[in-house]
């Protein structure tokens, strides 16, 4: 089994509202999987189904090859979008309580907490109440109770909202380390750029349906359309630009450095980069030449538009 989780034709309704429509996904083991889409697309519903907070009307979920059932709860760690802790409960007690609810024994939980408290620089907070801590510290505790029971699958819903930049980086590093150690991770977010760099796989969800899914690099390659960014060092720029505009499809341009450099984007016929470079290198210094890779956001917008056209 190479997939930690398989969702097969999952449908969920809330009254008249269709939250998930016949959605199928495969989440590969030991990878970081991005569940991307705007607010209200159905991401949180899917996550709640995986966490057995709610149940699908139709369709099945396989966890680690078995139909999802109560015992799997202890193998999943979930950081919800709406998250918090008991404000008037002490840090240590609270962490122990949540760990025990996930099925850990008290001694085991204590040992793990010691490890994590040291690792994330949480010193003598054990007897402090959450309301006495700063928000950043509370966020660290929240992260620890999510990962403490060494889940096989970690689910983060809007993980970086509410984290300050320093903690966000710290958490990002910890997440990458967990992945190195074999954990499978799902990221769910509507701010696609925020997790794009972390994800190996993504699924785009829109209006309760999956638009596309797969390996991020494959998707991007499929959505490339031979657009390149070019920077030319040109003392007499005007002439070069007009000549290029006659021969190639220039999408946009601008002059920088007091007219010493011309930056532009150009769309080339596929595979024709050689001819273009030969052509310009005779006329100016090529300072940079890079292919524009579409962002997940671009891909999302294009997919939605294509769907509306068709």
């Amino acid at each position: 089994m190479n997939n930690i989780l398989i969702a097969d034709k999952v449908t969920k309704r809330y009254g008249d509202h269709l939250a998930l429509n016949n959605l199928s996904l495969e989440i590969p083991r030991n990878s970081i999987y991005g569940l991307l889409g705007p607010n209200g697309a159905g991401k949180t519903t899917l996550i709640r189904i995986i966490n057995q907070i709610t149940y699908p009307d139709q369709g099945t979920i396989l966890f680690d090859g078995q139909p999802l059932e109560a015992k799997h709860i202890a193998m999943i760690g979930y950081l919800p979008e709406e998250r918090g802790l008991y404000k008037s409960m002490k840090v240590g007690e609270q962490a122990l309580y949540l760990a025990q609810l996930k099925g850990m024994s008290k001694t085991e939980a204590k040992a793990k907490l010691d490890y994590w408290f040291k690792r994330l620089d949480i010193g003598d907070w054990w007897n402090k109440k959450i309301q006495e801590l700063s928000k950043g510290m509370a966020q660290k505790i929240q992260f620890i109770v999510t990962v403490l029971h060494q889940p096989k699958l970690l689910i983060f819903d809007e993980p970086f909202s509410g984290f300050d930049p320093i903690n966000a980086n710290l958490i990002k590093d910890e997440i990458l380390r967990l992945k190195e150690n074999g954990t499978s991770i799902i990221f769910s977010t509507h701010r696609m750029e925020s997790v794009e760099e972390l994800c190996e796989y993504i699924a785009l969800i829109h209006k309760s349906e999956k638009l596309l899914d797969g390996k991020l690099s494959d998707i991007k390659n499929a959505y490339k359309n031979n657009v390149f960014q070019v920077g030319l060092g040109v003392p007499h720029a005007n002439g070069v630009l007009e000549e290029l505009q006659e021969k190639f499809r220039i999408l946009s341009f601008e002059y920088v450095d007091n007219g010493q450099q011309l930056n532009f984007t150009v769309q080339l016929p596929s595979g024709d980069t050689g001819a273009f470079l030969t052509h310009v290198s005779g006329k100016a210094n090529v300072n940079n030449f890079t292919e524009t890779i579409p962002s997940a956001n671009d891909i999302f917008i294009r997919t939605v538009q294509n769907q509306q056209v068709s």
């Binding site: 009254g15 709640r48 907070i53 919800p80 709406e82 802790l85 008991y86 404000k87 025990q100 609810l101």
Partner: protein, 445 residues
């Protein structure tokens, strides 16, 4: 430890460690005893107040009829004008002036007598004056009929009828009221417990919603487990508090009676020697045997049965109401939004208490008492008021008890099911105050 046990433990500890809970637990008995002491004190002050009433008697009658009592004394005015007497009453700060005009006919004197006061007089004062007139007039008329004063004395009597059941047991006056009062006490206890600790359950659910921890928890346990654990944990905390209250209040009362013990005994003796009874020694002996009978009768109240059914009704009634409270807490975002939902819960409780006190006390087995002791939302309170009379002959028919409990159990299952559904959906809903219509929709989610 099972997850439910973990939740119960957390809820219990969170409650009993709460500062305001601790303060209430230890302050309430003191407040309660202080209140009782204050009421006793105030009653005494009220009793000790004596009124002085001036009498300007220009007639030849009633000269010996106005005798002072503990609370009222009379001052006679002689040879003064009415206006002058009024003035001096005001100057001396007396309660009022009774004016009896001069007339040969006693009936006319009484007819034309006037009682002057600064403000409208208290009704007890007026009625005690009136009874003096009535007695005098009755005596005068009897004398006209030829009955002597000594014969009249012989006519003064009081009578109490003895009652017995067909099986020959002697009944005691007021025992039914006492029994209903004991049952009422149990019912009242249930109502208070539901209102106080149901509210705690609701606030605890709202707290979990506002602190946003609830989704973290229900990704580990089922929402129903969380709800049940919360209700049980909170009620255990409530039972702890009740036990502390009962123990410390009885200790404090014990201490108070030790300090003021003699006082209270004297007061009791004083009230028992009411005039009109046969006389000293006989009355004492009589009241002793009466007390004995009452004690016997109280011992014959089926306590084991009563407490068993108290537990059954308490547990079922409390679970029904507190799960409704939990559902309300889940449906709203903050406490101010709860009002519209709380009123319909409080209403049957209040209705049960009022119906209990006004209807069950008079007729424990009348149609209203039976109806309300079968209706599941009021039966925990009303049935307990009826139960001290026992089960079967002379008490609650067995079938009524069984039907009442069966209905309660069915309602319990139905309401907990509905509440759990609303709870499950509600705890994950933020930002809007739901209408009843929406709550109904949630049942289908």
């Amino acid at each position: 430890m099972s997850k439910l046990a973990l939740i119960i433990k957390r809820e219990y500890l969170a409650k009993v460690r709460n500062k305001s809970f601790v303060v209430m637990t230890f302050l309430s008995p003191i407040l309660m005893v202080a209140m009782v002491a204050l009421i006793v004190y105030l009653a005494k002050v009220n009793d000790n107040e004596t009124r002085v009433i001036g009498i300007l008697n220009e007639s030849g009658y009633f000269s010996n009829d106005f005798q002072g009592t503990d609370h009222t004394s009379y001052v006679s005015f002689r040879n003064v004008e009415l206006e002058a007497a009024k003035d001096s009453i005001v100057k001396m700060g007396l309660y009022g002036l009774l004016y009896l005009p001069d007339h040969p006919d006693v009936e006319q004197v009484a007819e034309q007598a006037v009682f002057f006061t600064k403000d409208a007089p208290g009704s007890s004062v007026v009625s005690s004056l009136e009874s003096v007139f009535e007695n005098r007039l009755r005596m005068e008329r009897l004398q006209e009929l030829g009955v002597s004063a000594s014969d009249f004395k012989r006519l003064e009597l009081q009578f109490e009828i003895n009652t017995a059941t067909f099986s020959g047991e002697r009944n005691l006056k007021g025992i039914n009221e006492i029994k209903a009062f004991i049952g009422g006490g149990f019912g009242y206890l249930i109502m208070m417990f539901i209102i106080i600790y149901g509210g705690f359950v609701m606030r605890s659910v709202i707290e979990e919603k506002t602190s946003r921890i609830v989704e973290v928890i229900i990704s580990s346990v089922k929402p129903f487990q969380l709800m049940l654990g919360k209700i049980i944990g909170t009620s255990l905390a409530g039972i702890t508090q009740f036990i502390i209250w009962i123990i410390s209040a009885s200790l404090l009362l014990g201490i108070l009676t030790l300090i003021f013990g003699i006082d209270l005994a004297a007061l009791n003796a004083g009230t028992e020697n009411t005039p009109g009874l046969i006389g000293g020694a006989a009355s004492m002996a009589n009241s002793d045997t009466t007390m004995q009978l009452y004690a016997n009768e109280l011992l014959r109240i089926p306590w084991v049965l009563l407490i068993t059914f108290f537990m059954i009704y308490f547990i079922l009634g409390y679970l029904i109401y507190s799960s409704i409270y939990a559902a309300i807490g889940a449906a709203v975002d903050n406490e101010t939004d709860t009002q519209q939902f709380i009123f319909p819960i409080i209403m049957p409780l209040m209705l049960a208490i009022y119906v209990g006190f006004f209807s069950v006390f008079n007729n424990p087995h009348g149609p209203i008492a039976v109806g309300f002791s079968l209706f599941p939302l009021t039966s925990p309170i009303v049935m307990l008021m009826r139960l001290p009379g026992g089960i079967g002959e002379g008490g609650v028919p067995l079938w009524e008890l069984l039907v009442s409990i069966a209905l309660l159990i069915v309602t319990f299952i139905g309401i907990v099911w509905v509440a759990a559904k609303i709870y499950r959906v509600g705890i994950l809903m933020y930002g809007k105050k739901p209408s009843y219509k929406e709550l109904f929709k949630w049942l289908k989610y």
